[in-house]
Structures are given as structure tokens and as C-alpha cells.
Subunit: 175 residues, 2 copies
């Protein structure tokens, strides 16, 4: 990298433009959206149901059905964020946690990394969403989502389902 300048510092994202050297002596710029990373939680009940949240997403101008998710606080371990988001958004605590993996949401222009967790042995607690979040908590049969993934127009939720199935073969059919 031969140069870098911040072009926007926001509440949620920062944006910078980097000058980079390519092979063959060429140069180019890269616009990078900085985001602190996030977690996604699949909360699976013993009856084969998962908890999702439906919320208005201003950036895309529509309601979206997603697994509970949220950004990491500075320096926070993802497993702590996962417990917090599940409690705040879905009103659930889990006695059993499994880390399913990670992925990048938009590697072409953003540095956001998402850590995926499976939460089981669930207990209901009081939900406490962020004050500017309007969330509707809904439950689906997990097998229904594998059969009809078009219900989820959200890359992180779809990708999380794929990681879950690889970790738990047969989970998609309720076996």
C-alpha cells in the first residue's frame, strides 16, 4: 500500500481510500468500508425450530428475515457478542454454544467479518433490543428454511445455514 486517506468517519462505518501497487508496476485505488465485525447466531430448539428476527432494513428499503446478529463492541470476544445479541434481540439464553465458522460479508469493498455460532439448550429471558431497533421475533422449522431458502434474502443467514449443515449432517432434514 503506497497511500491511504480516510474519507468518511461515521457512527457505524468508516471509509478510506487506499493506493495500492499491482503486479507489473501498475497502481490502483481501493475504497474500503471499515466495520468492526459481527456475529450471527442460529438458536436451535430441541423441537427443530430456529429463532429469526424480522426488521426493516433502511439500506435496502425493505423488511428482512435474519438470524439474530450484531456488531462486536471494541475488543469484545465474538462469543460474548453472540450471547449478548441472542439475549437482546431474541430474548434467549443458551447453555450450549458451538462455533460454526466465519466469513466475510462483502470482501470486494468492506472488511466486515462475521462469526457464526450455534446456540442450543435454550431458555427464554426478556428481550432488550437496542432502542433504535424495531424487531419482530419469529420461529421457523429449520428444515423449512433449508427447503425454502428464498424466505431468507440475507447472505449471512444463508451462509450460516450452510456452515451448520456441514457441522451437523442431517440437521437440515430434522434427522
Amino acid at each position: 500500500m503506497t497511500g491511504s486517506r480516510e474519507v468518511f468517519a461515521g457512527k457505524v462505518i468508516n471509509v478510506r481510500v487506499d493506493d495500492i501497487a499491482l503486479s507489473g508496476g501498475r497502481t490502483a485505488t481501493r475504497e474500503v468500508v471499515e466495520y468492526p465485525g459481527a456475529v450471527v447466531v442460529i438458536a436451535l430448539s430441541g423441537a427443530g425450530e430456529v429463532t429469526l428476527v424480522r426488521q426493516w432494513r433502511h439500506a435496502i428499503g425493505q423488511l428482512l428475515l435474519e438470524f439474530p446478529a450484531g456488531g462486536l463492541e471494541p475488543g469484545e470476544d465474538p462469543s460474548v457478542s453472540a450471547q449478548r445479541e441472542l439475549r437482546e434481540e431474541a430474548g434467549l439464553e443458551a447453555a450450549s454454544w458451538t462455533r460454526l465458522g466465519h466469513f466475510f460479508s462483502s470482501p470486494g469493498f468492506a472488511n466486515e467479518i462475521l462469526h457464526v455460532f450455534l446456540a442450543e439448550d435454550l431458555t427464554t429471558v426478556e428481550a432488550d433490543p437496542d432502542e433504535d431497533e424495531d424487531l419482530q421475533v419469529v420461529r421457523y422449522r429449520l428444515s423449512d428454511l433449508y427447503e425454502h431458502p428464498e424466505k431468507l434474502e440475507d447472505a449471512k443467514s444463508l451462509a450460516a445455514l450452510l456452515l451448520l449443515r456441514a457441522a451437523r449432517p442431517g440437521v437440515d432434514t430434522g434427522r
Copy 2:
């Protein structure tokens, strides 16, 4: 929306900050990254292999293995973009195209929508990547990726695999 201002106009992304009204009379701001939308292509051979590209992703500072993908040109139909990206990045043309669905990559802060295509009946042509792309084309058995999705740290590629499996039950095991 009660107000909106552009804070960055780049070559690839634009960023704006919107003022929005929440329920209960509260207000908040939303930072939105504008991106023109993109396509993802799973090119599947008759032998059960898929074509991926490995490339350095500056935003995340590492090499990433992804299905061929790319942004829509202004006004371009996604199916046209898909054919172009497959030809340019992977050096392939396909006689059979199936639309598998769509999803949003980062609905919390970006408006990017990704359209997913399955390309079959493949013919090799000359690749012609964008001049500032350094791509390595690699082939994997599709069943290997379903078994080891951790090889793909890319949300769009993982989500695309989930859509493919719902559209083509059994494709993940080579049946």
C-alpha cells in the same frame, strides 16, 4: 426519511447518511453504502466440478476463494452480467443458465444485492479479467465444498451453495 446527504462519492461505492423517523417519534441516522448490485456464478461441469477464483482482497488483506462474481454495469440485466463475468474471470461460456435467487450482502449498512446463477454445459474460452484483477482460476469438486465450506470464507459463495442445494437436491453429494 427526513433528510439525506452524500458524504462520499467514489469510483466503486457512494456513501450517504440518512435521517429517519422511528416509531414513537424518535429519530436516528443510517449510514448507507451504495453499490450497484452484483452477480455470482456457480459454473458446474458434468463431472461435478465447479470453477472458483482465488484473488487478493485488499479490503480484508488476504487471499479469498470465491465463485466468479462482479458488479452490474448501469442498467445491465443480471443475466448479461453473469455471462460476462463467467467469461472474463473464468474463461467459460455456458449453454444452460438457471437463476437460483438473490440476497443482500450486508443489509445493515449496504444496499448491495447479489443475483445467483447456475451455469452448465460449459465451453472453455479465453479469460479476460479486468486489468486490475489478479485472478487464479481453480477447480473443486462441488461435494468437497459442501463437506468443507470452511475453504470458502466468502458469504456470497456459501449462500450461493445453499441456494443451489435447495434447487437441486442431491447436488451436494454428487447424486
